[in-house]
């Protein structure tokens, strides 16, 4: 939270600090809209502060995010957000300029959504033993499914940490993990460096399209496990299956509220018929690991 507070003008910083009698750990997001009250988004509630940001505050935040050089973030701004020190993400909205019908830059900013990067170290522990194949000394493919905000990426991140660290006590060796992080969500890279906790054997391809990223990683980094977030397009699925044939373990996520919903999608057929035998269903309440269709492990989701 400290690196987020550093971005804010002093009066707003004080308001936020004094707004919470407890710590600020519960704050998930800070919404700053020019000329409208600032909102602190918690898990279940949204607190409105008695602070109306001015245009000067907007300039302050924009300059702090970019070290006085907002123009240098044009490439990031095409995606609508910037990842800052600590892995937190700042979403930006406002008036855009177009070139050939595509977004070129943001000309005027009206809102910031500062989303705190969160990691739940250990949340993958209950499932990892089930995914480890001791006879082959390798990890098994796994597909994580769930609706938005169900904790898929948080679990995926912890799986990457677990695999790259290994568990010598359980005779699980650490493995080389490659993360294709198309939206800077898994590793929350800032200047290409992961800001969250991972083991020593993690390589991240930040902001790289999944398709190219998987091929690049297989060619250059010889990974044992590849981690990819949010597959959906047919070409992504084909790339994942191709990667499986190279002997790499694939751990991927997909948006779907249930296995049934996933099965109803024609593009997913190939993936469900592939070598993937393990599925983790993520909900706001917790995680359930299925081998084929049998529940083998479950855990509630801690906040």
């Amino acid at each position: 939270m400290h690196s987020i507070l550093l971005l804010l003008p002093d009066p707003l910083k004080q308001q936020i600090i004094f707004s919470s009698s407890d710590s600020l750990d519960g704050v998930e997001e800070i919404r700053i809209r020019i000329s409208r009250p600032v909102q602190l988004v918690m898990q279940h509630t949204t607190v409105e502060l008695d602070y109306i940001p001015s245009f000067n505050d907007r300039q302050h935040i924009a300059e702090r995010i970019s070290q006085h050089s907002f123009y240098s973030l044009e490439e990031e701004m095409k995606k609508g957000y910037v990842t800052i020190d600590g892995g937190h993400r700042v979403g930006i909205a406002g008036k855009v300029t177009l070139e050939d019908g595509r977004v070129k830059a943001i000309q005027s900013i009206s809102s910031f959504a500062i989303r705190k990067a969160s990691q739940k170290i250990g949340c993958a522990d209950p499932f990892m033993k089930e995914l480890w194949n001791p006879s082959q000394q390798r990890w098994q493919h796994c597909l994580l499914i769930g609706p938005p905000k169900s904790g898929k990426t948080t679990l995926l991140r912890d799986m990457a940490r677990y695999i790259s660290t290994g568990q010598p006590d359980n005779e699980i060796d650490s493995k080389k993990v490659s993360i294709i992080d198309e939206r800077s969500e898994i590793a929350a890279c800032h200047h290409g460096i992961p800001q969250l906790t991972f083991g020593t054997k993690v390589d991240v391809l930040d902001r790289c399209p999944k398709l190219e990223g998987m091929t690049m990683m297989i060619r250059s980094m010889s990974p044992e496990v590849i981690i990819v977030d949010e597959i959906g397009h047919e070409r992504d699925i084909e790339a994942v299956i191709d990667a499986m044939y190279t002997g790499v373990t694939m751990i991927v996520t997909a948006h779907a509220s249930s296995m049934e919903e996933l099965r109803n999608r024609s593009s997913m057929d190939k993936l469900l018929d592939s070598e993937i035998t393990h599925f983790i269903e993520c909900t706001s309440g917790g995680y359930s690991l299925f081998r084929q269709n049998n529940l083998v492990a479950a855990a509630t989701r801690e906040r």
């Binding site: 300039q59 302050h60 924009a62 300059e63 970019s66 070290q67 006085h68 050089s69 907002f70 123009y71 240098s72 044009e74 300029t97 070129k104 830059a105 943001i106 000309q107 005027s108 900013i109």
Partner: protein, 171 residues
């Protein structure tokens, strides 16, 4: 008698030096204006074409010699030590620089506007604003150069001649 001669020499030297000083200020002003115009053109290119961060640009400008480095040094201090925003930091730096500058107040007003020009969030707006100011500075440089050519020698001559005239009037 010797004292009279000595006084006369002092008057002529003093008056001549004043003439030379005025002439030097004219030539110095045009030289500084072109240095600033060149520095801002380079800065504009770095921002627009390479998206170089401001701090890197400022550090590079501080490596230059002369007045440009002086202003950018002050700007750097305001940005990093005082943690001011771009606009405020530039205004303060120009204000401090003005105290020791030979530039006219109007010249500095245009240089001050660079602070506003680098604030927009997109490169297109920055380019538009900076180009405008650079054009004005180049025009002011031309005007300053013409003044220096036109009045530089005149001031020197007037300085010496004025001294001689005073001596003649006093004798």
């Amino acid at each position: 008698m010797t004292l009279h001669w000595l006084g006369a020499v002092f008057i002529i030297i003093g008056s001549g030096l004043e003439g030379f000083r005025r002439s030097y200020l004219l030539s110095k002003r045009q030289q500084i204006l072109i240095e600033f115009a060149q520095a801002f053109t380079w800065m504009e290119n770095e921002i627009v074409k390479r998206q170089t961060p401001i701090i890197e640009i400022v550090q590079a400008q501080m490596e230059r010699k002369g007045e440009v480095a002086k202003l950018f040094q002050l700007f750097y201090e305001q940005l990093t030590l005082k943690q001011l925003l771009l606009g405020e930091a530039w205004d303060k730096a120009v204000e401090q620089y003005f105290q020791s500058s030979v530039l006219l107040k109007e010249d500095l007003e245009w240089i001050r506007r660079i602070g506003d020009a680098i604030q927009p969030f997109d490169r297109q707006s920055i380019e538009r604003e900076m180009s405008f100011i650079i054009d004005i500075l180049r025009n002011r440089h031309l005007e300053a150069r013409n003044r220096a050519i036109q009045f530089g020698k005149l001031y020197k001559t007037l300085g010496v001649m004025g001294g001689v005239l005073v001596v003649l009037l006093l004798s």
